[in-house]
Amino acid sequence: MKQLAIVILAVVLLQACSGTSNKKADEKSANISNVSLTAAGATFPMPYYNMVFKTYGDKTGTQITYGGIGSGGGIRSLTDKVVDFGATDAYLDDAQMAEMPAEIVHIPTVLGAVVIAYNLEGVDGLKLSSELLEKIFMGEITKWNDSKIKSINPDLNLPDLAITVIVRSDGSGTTHIFSDYMSKISSKWADKVGTGKSLQWPVGMGAKGNPGVAGTISQTRGAVGYIGSEYAFAMKIQTAQLQNSSGNFVLPTIETVSAAAQGEIPADTRIMLTNSADPNSYPISGFTWIILYKEQNYNNRTKEQALATVKLLDWLVSEEAQGEAEKVHYAPLPASAVEKAKSILRGVTFDGTPLI
């Protein structure tokens, strides 16, 4: 009897609570400035999203919750229609687009770089050629004082230390960009390892997420690995200069990453920017995208919610938001990409009518 009383009491209380919260939600959706949006996806642009979403929230009252669950998780969340928009570092190919329940569009939001971070005390300005990169990540060069590394870096005092390769143990858009580049510069890599969000690594130890790899590199002497640039800069980890397709050694900076996006960009913005032909470009650069449904009326979403989504994304590619990118070491979108993003957003509809 006592149990029954408690159960009934709990049910009554729960209903009372949910009743009031439903009412609140109704009030919210009536007012566009109080809409809350949910998004999930890539961790690579997360420092940037966290910053600008907060700025936008303070400015307009639109609350945005972003879950850094990885690019694949972002795509799956959008497929399941549990988020307003998803985020991914790897664009969906035609086959993946066809598998989505409805037509989706890609909006590029920012340019990022994947850096080769290493931990060698007193060895600054390490240069890595394409050949060295291939041999280190395939386990063919195992010591830092290998003659091949020395011949490219004659001025550096390289220690007699084993190279510890650190890779991502989880699936990741960062891995996709890195392996896309590796497949472009090395046919052996393309053959044996390939491109993907998670790979069968010939060598190395795994750590989870960009923060996990960054932490492991900074804690491990002789370690080398690839991470989203912001994570290396935030933790002050050394980064290597890479040789681009023109043969120049370049550091990942705002300028060199921007340079990678100077070429022609397709109308749907789906392009990999790795190994760019621009002589000043940093070779492992790329767009990161937000993905959303072209027709925003699904799953009983309100028009306010759809409008808030599109307005947020329109602001995200505006000069104001793009100007913030440098603060967290991402490069702003080139003008041609902004233009294309804006025209894609104008094609996003609610019940067939464009929202903006």
Partner: protein, 310 residues
């Protein structure tokens, strides 16, 4: 509404009074209701457990259909699209190797501690302090052990000259051992304290020394309980995730030595479920199912020994 609630409580008071008085009809009806509620709660637990098994099996079917039982014995884990192939052997091997090693490392320590607590210094202040420390260790969350292993234990092992930058099966086993010591200690301590004093006193009266009593009386009569305690600790080590993930190196190969890096069933799931879909997701679920079965079997063996030998 408040009326309804207060009348409910009033009803509760009345019927419990009825129970006390042993009054026929009212007592019976509240008894029936209690029974129904209890039955419902038990049924819900059954439903949840059954649903879990069902969804694990359902999720694992595509992987087993694709790879057959070779899935359990294949050591090729290749997620690259185009040449996708999944085998669970590296993770099964990693899980069993780390857990067995952890058990071996923890055995002398926890066995001595439980004898200390339950026999030699039983009831003393020192035993109380030690017992408290053991309970404290048992309560520390896994992630804290992982942090300690990553930032303290690993640099220490590197300075001792361990290869692979301190990552790997050996380090993972040490941290696992530390995690199961309190568990094994308090279980065997409990059993050792339960050995009847009459038996021990009889042995003493025949002139046995303390160590003779322990070897000839305490351990033989507590044996089954102690063994079961270690089996349950082993089951716990099998499923441990966070601390192991942080320290084992996460390379998807069968460990080829004590200091090699590897991966366990629990940590590959924790690492890869976020980005997984299709066949890979199914393979991860299949690994989950295998882990579920493995821990289930180990626990069943433990319980069987307790029942059979107690």
């Amino acid at each position: 509404m408040s009326n309804a609630i207060s009348s409910l409580f009033a009803g509760f008071k009345k019927s419990s009074l009825g129970d006390l008085g042993g009054l026929g009809f009212k007592g019976l009806s509240s008894d029936k209701i209690t029974k129904a509620v209890l039955l419902l709660s038990s049924f819900i637990i059954l439903l949840v457990a059954g649903g879990m098994v069902y969804s694990l099996v359902e999720g694992a079917v595509p992987a087993f259909r694709e790879f057959g039982f070779g899935f359990v014995f294949s050591n090729n884990w290749n997620p690259t699209s185009g040449s996708e192939n999944y085998g669970a052997l590296p993770f099964i091997a990693g899980t069993i190797i780390t857990s067995v090693l952890a058990l071996l490392i923890s055995l002398p320590l926890s066995f001595s501690a439980s004898l200390f607590l339950g026999e030699y210094y039983r009831g003393t202040r020192m035993a109380k302090v030690l017992g408290m420390m053991v309970d404290l260790l048992a309560g520390i969350p896994s992630i804290v052990y992982g942090l300690w292993a990553f930032y303290v234990l690993r640099p220490f092992l590197i300075s001792m000259g361990l290869p692979n930058q301190g990552f790997g099966v050996f380090t993972a086993s040490i941290i696992l051992a530390i995690m199961i010591i309190p568990y094994a200690t308090s279980l065997s301590n409990e059993i050792i304290s339960m050995v009847p004093n009459e038996l021990k006193e009889a042995a003493y009266s025949l002139g046995a020394t303390k160590s003779e009593v322990i070897i000839n009386v305490t351990i033989p009569s507590a044996r089954s309980g102690i063994i079961a305690g270690y089996i349950l600790s082993f089951g716990r080590a099998l499923g441990e995730t966070m601390a192991v993930t942080m320290i084992i190196g996460n390379s998807n190969v069968v460990p080829n030595g004590l200091f090699s890096t590897g991966n366990t069933m629990a940590s590959v799931i924790a690492n890869q479920f976020g980005e997984a879909d299709g066949l890979k997701l199914s393979s991860l679920i299949a690994i989950g199912l295998l882990l579920f079965l493995l821990t289930g079997i180990i626990n069943a063996i433990g319980k069987f020994i307790i029942k059979k030998m107690a």
